[in-house]
């Protein structure tokens, strides 16, 4: 709920410095190595900088392509919208604009899919939608997906990317933390597998609820993950934060994630885990 100033990794589409005659929007600058990259090269390289290996954020559709068997993703029939509980005037307008811009209805998609032939329930969040923040709709979709996993007796995988609970929905966003976590408790009672995959950035109320409750917690390399945002911490303790603080590697070292998995290996790794959790002799 706290992250407001996590650096935007994906820069605006124009590049003023380029003097080559290439249309605006075809180039991006890598925030890590500052290299100017041709957008198509980035795309064909799984949104990873071909120069320095830095991970750019990913649109839901791109992630689906990468993780699921082609044509197997079926979105749950759950078309819902916020009631704007705090009556913030700009909020519905902002949502409308974001829907058009991102071609997504909200900051998460939830459904069923196959991963190398294995059935799963899958949720994927998107940072392009109010920094993947969790309001009532996101909380409801995640909870619904967990309940469907119970009903269908399937493993569930959630890809998180989020600044935390959504400010625009106030206390109702906070309550989604309890709602999603309670659903995970139910899933656990059923003995079903939950794999949580953290991607850059995962913070606040999402870290402090379902994202931290996986049986197995994976992360992409160098993803920023934490509860409080770096700026809030710096302001509180009045000192600079150490190098590498709140990276996936930092969390791995402190015992809060199981493994860092590269983007190119993620699908096969998830598949392996799913197969290893299948009950012996059940077939």
């Amino acid at each position: 709920m706290i992250v407001d100033k996590i650096k935007k990794r994906e820069l605006p589409q124009k590049n003023k410095k380029t003097n080559i005659d290439i249309p605006i929007g075809k180039w991006v600058k890598c925030t890590k190595c500052k290299e100017i990259i041709y957008r198509e090269h980035l795309r064909s390289n799984l949104n990873i900088c071909p120069n320095c290996g830095h991970y750019f954020r990913m649109h839901i559709n791109k992630r689906l392509e990468l993780i699921t068997d082609e044509g197997t993703y079926k979105k749950f029939d759950l078309n819902i919208e916020t009631t704007n509980p705090l009556n913030i005037e700009e909020y519905p307008k902002k949502m409308k604009a974001l829907r058009e811009k991102t071609d997504l209805p909200e900051a998460v998609t939830a459904g069923t899919a196959k991963i190398n032939g294995e059935d799963v329930v899958l949720c994927i969040m998107d940072s392009g939608f109010l920094m993947g923040s969790m309001g009532v709709v996101v909380g409801e979709k995640i909870t619904y997906a967990i309940e469907q996993a119970i009903k269908l007796k399937l493993p569930i995988i959630i890809f998180s990317v989020s600044g935390g609970a959504r400010m625009q929905e106030g206390i109702m966003s906070l309550m989604q933390m309890a709602k999603t976590s309670a659903a995970i408790a139910k899933l656990n009672k059923e003995g079903l597998l939950y794999i949580s995959v953290l991607t850059d950035p995962t913070y606040g109320g999402v870290t402090a609820s379902f994202a931290s409750l996986g049986d197995i917690i994976l992360s992409e390399p160098e993803a920023m993950i934490g509860f409080a945002g770096p700026r809030v911490i710096e302001q509180t303790i009045k000192q600079e934060l150490p190098e590498g603080f709140q990276t996936a590697e930092f969390l791995l070292e402190h015992g809060f994630i199981d493994k860092i998995v590269e983007r190119k290996d993620m699908k096969n790794f998830l598949h392996k885990l799913i197969v290893m959790h299948k009950k012996k002799g059940s077939e």
Partner: protein, 269 residues
Amino acid sequence: MANKITAWDRVTMARDLNRPTALDYIENIFDDFIELHGDRLSKDDKSIVCGLATLNNQTYTIIAEQKGRNTKENIERNFGMPNPESYRKALRFMKQAEKFKRPIITFVDTKGAYPGIEAEERGQGEAIARNLMEMSQLKVPIIVFVIGEGSSGGALAIAVGDHIVMLENAIYSILSPEGFASILWKDGSRAKEAAEIMKLTAKDLYDFNVIDKIINEPKGGAQNDLKKVSEDIKKEILVSTKKLTKIKEEELVELRYKKFRNMGEYITL
């Protein structure tokens, strides 16, 4: 008359240094209280006080966020901002309450979970998440009192209960008004304005069905009649204990699940 009190007035009252803290209420409400310490992992973090209390021959497990009553105490209590060790201590006592089948009373009063380097290193997010998950399945009644500031996940981590009560001038919110304004408008100084739209007063939360009951305070705030407010909290504890202990374990857990499951309305398209 109550209408003239703005949301920001309530924020100010909830933060008033003279406002009674959890330990003030505990002393006044219970016949006996023993504080017990430590998370059994690394530390006794003092922003959350845990222990056993008795009232009319019923033993309760107490979990309370504790602010200091002066500077010295505030340093000891980390200004009521818990580290992960506090949440893990709280969880240890919740599990113990379940083992001995006794009700849990929690007192919520925090600006939020502590944002520090060590808190992150030791998994602040994980500690809160685990409490939310575990509390949802506890087989004993949980009665929650929001007595001052109930801010963010740091408050919710001890507030997943069956019966949730707020004092009239307490606040309960996603984040402090300062934090809210800073994220939404990139300007923390607009906190006053934020407070008015956040719907963080007891009345707002009652209308949202986030809380079940409001306990009135004397004019000027709870500190003006600690005895009376304590007496009202005591009554509420006795009445809800009687009600909740009658419910079968599985049903209690299911009712709690539904309570939080239903939080948040949406429009179906």
